[in-house]
Chain length 345, copies 2
């Protein structure tokens, strides 16, 4: 272990002793996201959610392609400068990814963790860079409201009703170039550690209340992180979940209180930040792989870069269901992976 | 880089300088696979393909659970001895994995690479162990004939016809415990290197001829591997693809010949080995994440352990399609990841 630049920490964490930088990033979102509270911060806002394509799935693929293109452009890099891509999305067999980033010709490691995929891709990407396996990697994830409704619930044409506990899948993609070098001092933040989550299943079956389904997984990963790092909520300027929404936030804060951790003063949820729930009729908040990814790129990294925050815990949350598992009466288990993101000194 | 125990090699490869052992493994298959040429080598052969479950998806989940249980048992390990699980399957949102291995409580990194998933999970697992991020990991993948037909084509009840170029999805799961230590000298083989594949799309759209769709990706990864490693086909006792079948095998050998590599003397395909195509009516061969995984566990590792082979290149191959992408007229791109597996001296 002493030879290695990184080390296993506690039960489920890794401390990256070698510097891993989020060297550049990009966010591409749909019209509705552009009209939300973070609207002015996104790099690209589409005029309509088809983005010039014929199908919702192609539109989602184009989001990933645009996000990767832009992240590379900002970094002054070409696809051939990137060793590996870590990428995924919510669609069956990750087709948004397959048809989105194939043309770059970057060796691809496909990942799936539902809406926690952004966290998983950054975790594996950071480990690859710190381990000396890759000079630079790109991590990209996406979701699209219309392709997700079709995949998990009903085609939009059905006009189905949504309960207040439901979240609204974010149309967007966030891409991140990770590098071991901070050339030109352009990097936005650094990744100093990772806590990998396990599947947590409280037996909830309500796919229209995914916040509640995912909150136990977020609580589990956070508790494990605090134990592995011997840290406390107050050690972070923010603890940021991916897409719990207002229902899941309450559950998470309550669950962690029972375990002796009070995160209420520092908790933030990307799903709550990205929409104005009242004005935009999004109910419990935003969700999807894209939700945490675009919020990280546009908002969280900006705070770290400007020095408003020094250290945050970023924790995308995923609900592990499919239309088939739902129709067969299965529960909706959750998973969440945490990253320690730090301001560059 | 000099501090690291491993190194990036060429464009898409990693040489693992620190030892990574396949410490134990297990294979669980269905009735048809048990009746095939490798039948006597599998650890568990089910009496029927529901494995006592109510649905095909639950049955596939039970395959993963049984395979992991058995691999742990053979290693004399408990779930809490495992740092991370790398797991995936072919179903939408990887539900065979979510409901298969949740109960172990092992921190999970979900992977998706269609039928190349076994290779991807072993590649990332090996990098995690070599990097000092994990003491031990478990890598598990599965496929199931009936759940795959339902997911990608038609429910079995339709009794649809299959062209001769079609492959038969293997019902099976293979699990592998990777470790940095070879305690008791029980390990079956070691992983010394990895070549990560990129998506290759020749524009083929015939989902009933996946061998031809995947062969260009296999050729691309093999060519890249030979370049990165400065090696030749003759340097390996076998070069083993996942599930190209007889059609894909011909395409692969032809494509590589055009690039100046003749693998015909050492090529083997798990999909060709696992069934007796004539007697078992499986047409071009076996396929699915489970195909390469169970063949690796039951047959390939046995050859390495017994010293019949010293070094092989193991290259699971994946076809990146979904029912939606197929119905929307998209092509079927392929991907393949290669692992260098060596006999333990």
């Amino acid at each position: 272990m002493s030879q290695s630049a990184s080390q296993k920490l506690g039960k489920a964490s890794v401390r990256l002793e070698k510097e891993v930088y989020i060297y550049s990033s990009a966010s591409v979102v749909g019209k509705k996201e552009g009209e939300g509270p973070l609207g002015l911060l996104f790099d690209v806002v589409g005029e309509d959610d088809l983005f010039g394509c014929d199908t919702w799935e192609e539109a989602e693929s184009s989001l990933q392609k645009n996000a990767v293109n832009l992240a590379l452009e900002k970094a002054g890099l070409k696809p051939e400068d990137i060793t590996f891509a870590f990428a995924g999305d919510l669609l069956g067999q990750s087709i948004a990814t397959s048809f989105g980033i194939a043309s770059f010709g970057i060796p691809l490691l496909g990942v799936y963790g539902a809406c926690s995929t952004c966290g998983e891709s950054l975790a594996l990407g950071a480990m690859s860079v710190a381990g000396g396996y890759a000079d630079r990697v790109v991590c990209v994830t996406s979701s699209h409201f219309a392709s997700a409704e079709k995949e998990f619930r009903f085609p939009l044409e059905y006009g189905n009703q949504r309960p207040l506990s439901a979240t609204w899948t974010v149309t967007g993609s966030g891409a991140f170039v990770l590098s071991g070098e901070n050339t030109d001092k352009k990097a936005r933040a650094r990744i100093s550690g990772v806590t990998v989550g396990k599947i947590v299943d409280y037996g909830l079956k309500d796919s229209m209340n995914m916040g509640a389904c995912m909150a136990p997984a977020a609580a589990s990963t956070l508790e494990q992180h605090f134990i592995d790092y011997e840290s406390q909520p107050k050690d972070y300027d923010k603890i940021i979940t991916g897409d719990l929404g207002v229902v899941g936030q309450t559950v998470l804060i309550d669950l962690l209180r029972e375990k002796g951790y009070d995160i209420s003063a520092v908790h933030m949820d990307c799903g709550i930040e990205i929409f104005d729930a009242g004005a935009q009729d999004t109910h419990a908040g935003g969700s999807g792989c894209g939700c945490s990814a675009v919020t990280l790129s546009a908002y969280i990294l900006k705070q770290l870069q400007e020095g408003n925050w020094k250290k945050v815990l970023f924790l995308p949350t995923g609900a592990l269901l499919s239309k088939t598992s739902f129709n067969e009466g299965q529960s909706v288990p959750g998973i969440a992976h945490a990253l320690v993101l730090e301001k560059i000194d």
